[in-house]
Subunit: 420 residues, 2 copies
């Protein structure tokens, strides 16, 4: 304890995050960490650092016994996994900001950490500067966590904010996000929900000891949201957020998904606007806790990497207590969701998938319904993602106790009257 | 690492927090912690637990070698210090929720922790369920923390919320807080700012490695706030909060104080209403982070104690890195504050204490001014706490760069015209 070790870093990637980290370390010599070598793909690109720092040969870092930490901030998934796993096997600690790599290779990374005893930290991979992983791991480390809801993707949140605060259409809002650098030229990873999904897989591990695959999680993004959904929301004082959630059901199993949702005024996540992120944790005895901060950008991401480096100086590693020492929680799709679906043509709505349709508005060109549907059915069906349909969760969407007989009856009555 | 040890707890105090903890532990056997004995003062009071659990003899706990953790949730300061220090010296770890005891005996407690190598944790002592101490200690453990502002007292925040949201007068709001159990029958500890001061002393240690005494910190509470201050605030869309702050000045020294402040719309701390607490951390590279949750109450406090117990299972202790391994920061009063002062009689205002008076409103019965004053002068003078005067910080109150000659001139001009 208290051994404040000198970190000699091998860095992979010198994009905005890598360069941000390089600058921060140069500005704060007290951190007792220095970058010995930076591995890049393109040696001809102009860099704001001495040429002697760079190499294109990964082995120069991975086989250098003096380098005790490898930091990986590249975009490629498989290459990043090779770098991190080799670093750990070569006796180095590793820091990564690569959510897709971590989410994709979660089981393998857990095994390698256990086999090598080395530390892999990745606070930057979810919510960037918000210390959510470390808090889930260390502070919410018992089985009292009842639920977790979060806005984990800044690009989509920026777009949704503009749709509500400035009443921009989806396409204009996306364009603005791209111009400001909050969204990529190819925004599909963000707006289709993949980025949020990867982050959610990482947080599920640290919240509940769950090792999930992408195909285990019901998710979508915001690309299907229709401008009229914002109009409908505004009438009820709702805004829309892309929300990742996990909730401990009465059975003890965990419901987890990433879907757009209507959010009521005064909810914690309404405070989260523009490119920011926020997480609400609910535990048995302490009500709701809300963590809020910048979820993306070079400096916030570099700052989270820095904090991992700082922890490595004191030999910190995730202990994965919930996975290893407790009975890990189990994912389930056996619950119901109350959803809003808007559409142009009701022939594309599979009404029989609903347990109960509660509202039906066909008076305008853009129609919508509100109904209750089983989560597993939603996950297995595709109609709600197609033909211009848009699905948004209602507030308090999870329905656990359903008296199916009563609801079926009610649903048939309603459907009979209104659809018949 | 990973040794999940069994905790045998000796508990001091069985008030709302003590009993809350007892109930939580009974409900969650997975925590691997059990209360062996509870020391109480009054053996005749009826308790919701088996009589065999209780003792009035502290030594039964402190000298029991089987008990490895002492949890102290009593109200007395000196008695709590004796309990905690004896426990540590007897080879036990200790958990305390006693902010006054910890703030008062900070130097002694640091010495005893170092001498005994035992762990003293007190997450519950500041912001209850918000994991702020642990985050300052572990996550914001480098020297990049630029500032910290917080609402750390739920009672006063509840009163201020009622003054603004329901336009209650101070006395009515206080009465309501007392009726709801958010304020003590003797509310002076809360409303005069002492409770916030103690918490701030604790957070200053973990934020900056500063060991401060109560007399080192400029502070007041909300008891001087005049109903008309709320009226003035509302005109500018401001609300009032009792805010504890620390800021790294350009000199590298730390300005720290606890004072009421006008808060602009959209500020993070505006989100904090009623009995809640909130903390905003600003670091060099990650912008502002906001932590929000319940800052008081039996279960939130017990929940923080629980999380300390959970940490003790893995032999966690505060390393006080900023104090021991880094150069601790230094407190300073050498900065200026822009303050609002309201008053009935301007004969009680020491106008010469101001470097510059910026506004002067004498048109109504309750008058006010806005001026810039040196922090050290404010700390040493008492006029602003007396004779019905009320002092509230303006938003962005800290003034670092003052061209004294220009300001003196401007001040004299203004004062000459308006006071002359």
């Amino acid at each position: 304890m208290g051994n404040d070790k000198q970190l000699i870093i091998g860095l992979f990637g010198f994009g905005v995050v890598g360069e941000g980290l390089y600058r921060i370390l140069n500005q704060t010599p007290t951190l007792n960490a220095s970058i010995k070598k930076v591995c890049i793909k393109n040696p001809n690109k102009k860099r704001n650092a001495p040429a002697s720092l760079f190499t294109t040969n990964a082995d120069e870092i991975l086989n250098d016994p003096e380098i005790n930490v490898v930091v990986e901030v590249i975009n490629e998934t498989d290459a990043a996994f090779r770098i991190v796993s080799t670093a750990l096997r070569n006796g180095k600690d590793a820091v990564s900001a690569n959510k897709k790599m971590i989410a994709t290779y979660l089981p393998e990374l857990l095994t390698i950490q256990q086999e090598t005893g080395r530390s892999l930290l990745y606070e930057a991979s979810a919510c960037a500067s918000i210390p959510i992983i470390r808090n889930l791991e260390e502070y919410y480390d018992n089985d009292l966590l009842q639920g977790l809801t979060a806005i984990v993707n800044g690009s989509t949140n920026y777009i949704l904010t503009k749709m509500f605060d400035e009443q921009l259409g989806f396409k204009d809002a996306l364009l603005q996000a791209q111009q400001l650098g909050f969204a990529e030229a190819d925004p599909s990873l963000d707006i289709e929900g993949w980025d949020a999904l990867y982050k959610w897989i990482i947080l599920l591990l640290h919240a509940y000891g769950i090792v999930a695959k992408p195909e285990d999680i019901l998710f979508t993004g915001i690309h299907q949201i229709h401008n009229n959904d914002a109009v409908v929301g505004r009438e009820k004082q709702y805004e829309i957020r892309l929300i990742a959630q996990a909730k401990k059901l009465k059975t003890g199993k965990i419901a987890a998904f990433v879907l757009p949702q209507f959010v009521k005024p005064n909810e914690h996540l309404r405070f989260v606007k523009n490119e920011y992120n926020g997480t609400v944790l609910e535990s048995s005895f302490s009500d709701k806790q809300f963590f809020y901060g910048k979820g993306a950008g070079s400096f916030p991401t570099a700052s989270a990497v820095l904090s991992d480096l700082s922890a490595l100086r004191y030999d910190y590693h995730y202990e994965h207590k919930k996975l290893r020492y407790q009975k890990p929680a189990e994912l389930t799709d056996d619950f119901y969701l109350k959803v809003y679906v808007s559409f142009d043509d009701w022939n594309y709505i599979e009404k029989n998938d609903f347990l109960w349709i509660e509202e039906w508005h066909a008076e305008n060109e853009r129609k919508y319904l509100v109904g209750v549907i089983h989560a597993e059915r939603l996950k297995n069906k595709t109609w709600w993602r197609e033909n211009g349909n848009s699905l948004i969760l209602t507030p308090d969407a999870i329905v656990e106790d359903v008296d199916i007989r009563n609801l079926k009856k009610k649903s048939l009555e309603l459907a009979g009257v209104q659809l018949g």
